[in-house]
């Protein structure tokens, strides 16, 4: 065991840190769930890509740096520490990207990965349906073969960033006769597909962060199948493992707010404002707990990364990670809001808002963590049944 970083790793950290210092926009971008904020975030993706920071762990030929998983984790720590914008390309680079590496043909890799890396094509995930949420395999949207095309009919929902994305990765039912999990196929669908309509839906904060997708005889070419006809469930489970585990939610993402909350505690304790009242010392304990959890997540992840680099596979323990990060994220933000006291409810444009309202924004987003990527109830079932072997 060696828990120090190599010289190469340290110098990598140094490089990304200085790049971020020079490039992170001073003024935060508008919400990526708005039309213009989305384009601002796309611009930022292009800036990252120009210096090959958008997909560091990918091979060079697709725009990456061939980094190890450990280096990628270092990148993430520095990225979130710097206060850089959220990644509008996340569904592509962290979910679909690894799935294409696993299941895509060479043609598909060449066609999709470079534009995903550059921000020219931003991806959204179109899996859930009004009646297929936790029970994803209950999905009904049909894709029926017609020559070299498939004709799609049905509806998707809760498609994050689907209102503005360029492409959507979907799962459709191609064989209604087969067993639930068997007749599914994974498709890559252009957002301008004729016969597909999208309807923006406001999230908790009112911004159109979701879209509903309506398919009416929409036509998708067979070359857009990822991983083979009828293989949709297997391919989807690879994506889901990325979503639950370390790809989508690296430790850096939680270490940053946990540390900012420590700093907020210091600031609030020093600047006791008589109008607002003092800082409750019992919150100190919770701030510390949150910070500890971020550390625990960090070390769990480094050990998982080491195992994966040695040829291991991500199994149902991804569910442990998903429950842990999502609940930690809620607590970090809830505690910060408690620190903000009567100012906690203020929105970013209120003159008295603490840290421009980022804690309330973050809290609202964090609350969705225990729901998306498979609810935490489902994750706990998986942990009980597949990790612990308890009866179903």
């Amino acid at each position: 065991m060696d828990l120090t970083f190599t010289e190469a790793e340290e110098s990598f950290r140094h490089d990304i840190r200085s790049w971020l210092q020079q490039h992170v926009p001073a003024k935060s971008l508008r919400s990526m769930d708005t039309a213009d904020g989305f384009e601002q975030h796309r611009g930022w993706e292009k800036e990252l890509h120009a210096d090959r920071w958008s997909v560091v762990s990918w091979p060079e030929k697709y725009g990456g740096r061939d980094c190890t998983l450990i280096e990628w984790l270092i990148f993430e720590e520095e990225y979130y520490r710097s206060g850089a914008p959220g990644r509008v390309s996340a569904n592509g680079v962290t979910l679909l990207g690894p799935t294409i590496f696993g299941f895509g043909t060479e043609e598909q890799k060449d066609r999709f990965l470079p534009k995903m890396a550059s921000g020219d094509e931003i991806w959204a995930q179109g899996w859930s349906e009004p009646n297929a949420g936790s029970d994803l395999a209950g999905l009904k949207t049909k894709a029926v073969r017609d020559g070299d095309h498939f004709v799609v009919n049905g509806q998707k929902t809760w498609c994050s960033r689907g209102a503005f994305a360029d492409w959507i990765f979907c799962i459709f039912r191609t064989d209604p006769e087969a067993q639930r999990h068997k007749g599914l196929t994974y498709f890559l669908v252009p957002a301008d597909t004729p016969g597909m309509e999208r309807n923006p839906v406001g999230r908790l904060d009112g911004e159109p962060g979701f879209a509903e997708l309506f398919f009416e005889d929409a036509s998708v070419h067979e070359s857009m199948i990822l991983g083979g006809e009828g293989q949709g469930w297997n391919v989807a489970m690879a994506t889901a493992s990325s979503e639950r585990g370390l790809n989508l939610r690296s430790p850096g993402r939680f270490m940053a707010p946990a540390e900012r909350a420590v700093e907020l505690f210091q600031r609030m304790s020093e600047a006791r404002d008589e109008r607002v009242g003092g800082v409750d010392p019992t919150l100190r304990d919770q701030i510390i707990r949150n910070w500890m959890n971020a550390q625990a997540y960090r070390w769990f992840t480094f050990s998982t990364a080491t195992r994966l680099m040695g040829g291991g596979h991500m199994g149902p323990e991804a569910s442990l990670m998903k429950v842990f990060w999502s609940e930690m994220d809620v607590e970090i933000h809830a505690t910060a809001l408690r620190l903000a006291g009567a100012q906690g409810e203020l929105m970013g444009d209120a003159p008295d808002a603490v840290d421009d309202g980022t804690w309330m924004d973050g809290y609202q987003f964090a609350l969705s963590g225990p729901i998306y990527a498979g609810t935490n109830e489902i994750q706990r079932n998986i942990i009980a049944e597949r990790v612990l072997g308890l009866p179903r």
Binding site: G202, A342, S368
Partner: protein, 333 residues
């Protein structure tokens, strides 16, 4: 010992519940979120006519002369309906404060429903200050009644859009001074207690609704061929929220009794109520969202109207840790 409300009190509650069920449906609250006042047009006048608005003003001043025990059930109803109104500030806090300080001019007008009194105690922000005719504000050991024309307001937007909050800039003067010294300070403490009590009762009401709408939803929503309410994980979430709420509720009633009867421990009783109710509504909000899944995470669905009010009220008039700290101090630790 008889821990129960009278028939009359329960009847009054039912009348208010019926009114709000008709006039303060979620559509109305949603509309208030986006309208210029943040309130439901015409509803305050109905509450004035029913005697709710001036429930706590002395009969001599033209009020109903009722007390916190009469009011607590109505605050709970206000929470259940997410009523966007001044029922905490004006009714629970301002009227008794004016009465306690022996003020009569504003009190008479407020009791008659002619003016709205804004309240700047217990919080740095005044709710609906833009619609108040006069504001009760604190400066050192003085309480002032400042006419709306003499204050400058800065809007502070809340996550609950119906809560129109303002910070208030003003200059104390002899003309606005109502009281000063220890009596004024005690009156401010009492006012904060009344505010915290009312907010606690509203939190209990909000938690109750969050539980009810969730029970409805999970009883209908099917996944894996069964209603999701049949899964133990979901059942246990809701049961936990119910336990928290049911044990917060009597504490709110006890606090109402303590304040109405000016018992020596009333401050601590209020803190028990507010700490428990703040925690209960936070728990209920998280539970409700979790059990709804993504539908609850949308702006179009009504759940967030209660959730956001719950977050705001849980943190207002002293949050759970503020009140626990106060209980600790009263226990000598």
């Amino acid at each position: 010992m008889q821990f129960a409300f009278t028939e009359d009190q329960l009847l009054f509650r039912d009348t208010v519940r019926d009114l709000l069920a008709n006039e303060c449906k979620p559509e109305a609250v949603r509309a208030a979120w986006l309208n210029p006042t943040g309130r439901v047009p015409g509803l305050w006048d109905k509450l004035v006519d029913m005697g709710v608005a001036a429930l706590t003003a002395p009969e001599a001043a033209g009020g109903m002369g009722m007390n916190e025990v009469d009011l607590v059930l109505l605050q709970e109803e206000a929470g259940r309906a997410a009523l966007p109104e001044v029922l905490i500030e004006h009714t629970a806090v301002a009227l008794p404060l004016l009465a306690e300080l022996g003020e009569s001019a504003w009190l008479a007008k407020a009791a008659a429903g002619e003016v709205i009194v804004g309240v700047g105690v217990g919080s740095p922000y005044v709710l609906y200050a833009d619609q108040a005719d006069v504001l009760l504000l604190v400066h050192e050991d003085e309480v002032h009644a400042v006419p709306a024309a003499d204050v400058t307001l800065t809007a502070q937007r809340s996550v609950d859009y119906s809560r129109r909050l303002f910070s208030v800039a003003w200059t104390p003067s002899d003309a606005t001074l109502l009281a000063k010294g220890p009596a004024a300070q005690q009156a401010v403490v009492d006012a904060c207690d009344r505010g915290a009590l009312a907010a606690a009762a509203q939190c209990v009401g909000i938690a109750q609704t969050l539980i009810e709408v969730t029970v409805d939803y999970v009883g209908q929503r099917e996944q894996f061929g069964k209603v999701v309410g049949s899964y133990q994980a979901v059942k246990h979430h809701i049961a936990n929220a119910l336990i928290a709420t049911e044990f917060a509720r009597p504490l709110a009633y006890v606090a109402a009794y303590a304040v109405a009867n000016s018992t020596p421990h009333r401050g601590r009783d209020v803190s028990l109520a507010k700490a428990a109710a703040s925690d209960a509504v936070d728990k209920a909000a998280r539970m409700a969202l979790q059990c709804h899944g993504a539908i609850g995470y949308t702006f179009e669905y009504d759940l967030h109207l209660w959730m956001k009010r719950g977050w705001a009220l849980a943190a207002s008039w002293g949050d759970a840790s503020f009140h626990r700290d106060r209980i600790g101090r009263s226990l000598g630790i």
